[in-house]
Amino acid sequence: MSAPISVKQRLQISRQAMPEQAADERNHNFGEVNLGFTEQLALLEADRCLRCRDPRCINGCPVAVNIPRFIDLLSAGDVAGAAHSLLGDNTLPAVTGRVCPQETQCEAECVRGAKGLPVAIGYLERFVADWARQHADQLPVAKPAPTGKKVAIVGSGPAGLTAAGDLARLGHDVTVFEALHKPGGVLLYGIPEFRLPKQIVDQEVERLKQAGVKIECNVIVGRTYTLPELRAQFDAVFIANGAGLPVFMNVPGENLKGVYSANEYLTRVNLMAAYEFPKADTPVLVGRRVAVVGGGNVAMDSVRTAKRMGAERAFIVYRRGKEELPARLEEVHHAESEGVEFELLTAPVEVLGNAQKWVTGLRCVRMALGEPDASGRRRPVPVAGSEFVIECDQVIVAIGTRANPLLTATCPDLKLNRHGNIEVDERGMTSVPGVFAGGDIVRGAATVILAMGDGKRAAQTIHEYLMPAMTKPVNGEGAAASLCAAVAGDRVHSL
């Protein structure tokens, strides 16, 4: 498209900023904050990529997206080619381009980050993925020969959807069972509209259905069907039911009216559209002053949602320091610019209430960082005599989730670790033959892309398990590698 440019010229281009809605406007609406690159910005940013011979960014990506390849195709003006390349590596790029913690993954490895800012890989991924969504007709759907094998997938979050897509592409008959009335998992009920529009999740699900994936909602595995029942009806099962059980703080006053788990608060607002009450039937309590406990993405999503629901003041209460906030950097910046207040090195000790049992405040204690703990982070310890009260009428608890025992309780043969997470071997198989697992149910609450990586790997090993003759496993590693090649070959063929 354009004349070849030198490395020196590439180095002179500075990182392009993401266009966004103004902070004082967006904190009153649920529209997406990031507006996406224009084509011009995308091409400019793509030119910043140095086309390294040994691209380190790929190592930083949990699903090894071939980053320079799609960027190069984009630069060459072949957006369709870029989209093919990207979608072959990553089933849900429109999602990951928005929610991946790029600063600790691909962009952390980018050589340009050594001196200056890394290439905005996430923004470019999003640009190409959004193009692909708008031009679905230009992307052929592969029609593989049916293998006659049936696979059940439990849960329709990123792990389940990724596995479903890959298995369908390999010709298997895939049915996804979802407990809620709509597929998408955390992408749907957890991550808010202003960060990940629900239309994107719907479109991705639609794409999978067109590829032959069947989705059955309102099926709670462990209640509607037990795991052994599924195992008997399907040739293999992939469990990807997430880490859905909210953890509470275990402090006095936690059951007062006005205390929500982040799961409940976000589900009411996102899945049930409570922000449209009374147009939607589900209500959500609206806090005037809202304290959100926790420092991860879930906490940032909750606090920014509270602002949008009309909170005059909204606080993050986090027991460690700013450096330790586990949320994506961009979310922290966005929260700050939207007027969220940060009470760092602060831990709640009690929720206070009035005679009618409504929340009136959160009693907290200041913390100091002590010796490093098992995770290598310095352990926060309470500072004696530092108690104080944050006046608030709503408290949202976003301190984590655990494995939900609903499913695992119906299959005692399934080996769990001491936290209740399912144990898997290096192939992703559980202690029950033919039953695989991945995503948050295995890792504990983690990330979208790690869940997708598990889904991708499980699809490959399930394929090997079901079609031993075709995939001829020599040893675990080699088989997976040869299968990757086969999948890639397939893809090239289908283009």
Binding site: A179, L180, T224, N255, S261, L285
Partner: protein, 278 residues
């Protein structure tokens, strides 16, 4: 989609729906419930499976029209379909297999008592049911419960059966002795009163709690209740608990959290009615 196969008005504000849900009809057990989501934009509401016909593939839901969501549900007609019915959820009732059970049902809670009495009867236990309502027209499930044993009907105004509250009849039945376990389902004050009757007598008492729910699978924690000083999620740990351990005050209090919203929704629905858009 879950087609409504039949609809009956049981009392001035209680409606019975037979709903197509073949899988749930096959496997549901006493004490279990479903989450019903009428259509996009509707609330997800928990309803006990009051009965089931596995051959016909249908379940019985008994709905007291109190707020907008329940009124919208009972306004549906046979042939129309509910979008989502998920379940069966919750732990099945602990049923005794011999001995004498006293089942106490107040108002729409009588419909929740029905599958329990049915299960007890099937197990070979002796069942006595005490059910009640404001007046004759509010008494439901009397004939169904008679199949499983003796039924004592109480009405507040004495227009049918004996005059008084179900708790009065329960006190007498307990005083007569020989009751091994009590199952009580109804309004919070009723369940609390029954639990207080049986506490000094050390008669095991199971109550069914009805907190606000969203998912019904343990994901949101909105349904939390306190039992024996510990927080439990009613949808997965219950909905039935030891009545002597339940913090009824907290339950009643948490149930009131959305009262303002209910009024707003009701007002808004009436407005729509009057304008005639509906």
């Amino acid at each position: 989609m879950h087609t409504i196969l039949a609809k009956t008005q049981l009392s001035p504000n209680v409606t019975r729906l037979e709903v197509a849900a073949p899988r749930i009809a096959q496997i549901r057990q006493p004490g279990q419930f479903v989450i019903v989501h009428r259509c996009a934009g509707a609330e997800r509401i928990p309803l006990t499976v009051a009965d089931a016909d596995p051959a016909a593939g249908s379940i019985t839901l008994v709905i007291q029209a109190v707020g907008k969501s329940t009124r919208d549900l009972v306004a549906m007609e046979p042939g129309e379909a509910i979008q989502d019915v998920a379940g069966p959820l919750g732990r099945p009732t602990e049923l005794i297999t011999s001995g004498h059970a006293l089942c106490v049902g107040g108002g729409v809670g009588t419909a929740v008592v029905h599958p329990i009495a049915q299960g007890l009867h099937r197990n070979g236990a002796r069942v006595t049911s005490i059910i009640g309502g404001r007046s004759k027209e509010w008494v439901i499930f009397e004939n169904e419960l008679r199949r499983f044993g003796e039924v004592v009907v109480c009405t507040d105004d004495g227009s049918y059966g004996r005059r008084g509250f179900v708790t009065d009849a329960a006190r007498e039945a307990l005083a007569a002795g020989g009751i091994d376990v009590v199952y009580a389902v109804g309004p919070v004050p009723m369940m609390r009163a029954v639990a207080e009757l049986t506490r000094p007598l050390h008669v095991h008492t199971i109550v069914s709690l009805n907190p606000v729910m969203v998912d019904g699978t343990g994901m949101c924690g909105g349904c939390r209740v306190e039992v024996g000083g510990e927080t439990r999620f009613a949808c997965v740990d219950g909905p039935e608990f030891d009545g002597h351990q339940v913090d009824f005050a907290l339950l009643a209090d948490r149930l009131s959290a959305y009262r303002d919203f209910e009024q707003k929704a009701n007002a808004c629905a009436e407005e729509t009615c009057r304008i005639g858009r509906h």
